[in-house]
């Protein structure tokens, strides 16, 4: 799954730690999401969307590989 959290955070001009505290997670979590290392839960995705004032689908986008069965 692709995401534009890093970009949206830059637009908002906040650090990873600040964004983390806005959505009640650690800085590591924001870092992992931005790095594509971790896909957030629905709740966290909705919180991020709310902070960025966007729809979830504007921030998170499915990739072809997400449809593949493991």
């Amino acid at each position: 799954m692709k995401n534009s959290v890093r970009l949206e955070r830059a637009v908002l001009d906040v650090s990873q730690a600040e964004l983390g505290s806005m959505v009640q997670v650690s800085r590591q979590t924001i870092n992992a999401i931005e790095g594509g290392e971790y896909n957030p839960s629905v709740i966290l995705s909705l919180k991020l969307a709310s902070v960025f004032n966007k729809h979830v689908t504007e921030i998170f986008e499915l990739e072809e590989s997400d449809w593949a069965c493991d």
Binding site: Q16, Q24, V25, S26, R27, Q28, T29, N31, A32, I33, G35, Y38, P40, S41, I43, L44
Partner: protein, 161 residues
């Protein structure tokens, strides 16, 4: 995020305070097999199959004589490692919960891989000792893997702006 079944964060410190001396005593016990005489006491037992070791009669739901040094070490090690392993991180959230789960799965695989190898290739008292260690190593492997993953995750942060 609400994380179920985890202990409060303060338990981690208590765990380390108990773990260090318990581990040192455990190593001492394993190396010397000394039983301090003052720890020879009568204890209640569900079952004591004493016949294997000293020819005594079986005890079922009764009182038996035992040196409790190894019981104290085992109890301290397990309780302290459970405290260390399953106390909440200061910043516990869903990403840390994921690392926690992955580490637990990894530790279980490694622990039982070692046990499988031991079942196949180790015999006699050496196998008995591996079984004894195996009781503790699952928690030990989890603690090492979990903290290593957290350290790695923190380390990548240093390169982020």
């Amino acid at each position: 995020m609400k994380t179920n079944y985890l202990l409060p964060h303060q338990f981690k410190r208590i765990g380390w305070i108990i773990f260090v001396p318990a581990m040192l005593l455990g190593i001492f016990f394993f190396a010397s097999e000394v039983d301090p005489p003052f720890l020879n006491i009568h204890v209640f037992a569900f079952f004591d199959d004493g016949a294997i070791f000293n020819g005594d009669e079986d005890v079922i739901f009764g009182i038996t004589k035992n040196n409790i040094f190894d019981e104290l070490i085992g109890l301290s090690l397990i309780v302290s490692m459970v405290f260390i392993a399953f106390s909440r991180q200061k910043n516990e959230d869903e990403f840390i919960a994921k690392i926690r789960l992955e580490s637990l799965v990894w530790a279980t695989y490694v622990n039982y891989a070692i046990l499988l190898i031991a079942i196949l290739f180790v015999y006699g008292m050496a196998f008995f000792w591996i079984m004894v260690f195996n009781m503790f190593t699952i928690l030990l492997f989890f603690i090492i893997r979990f903290n290593w993953a957290l350290y790695k995750s923190n380390n990548t942060l240093k390169h982020e702006k």
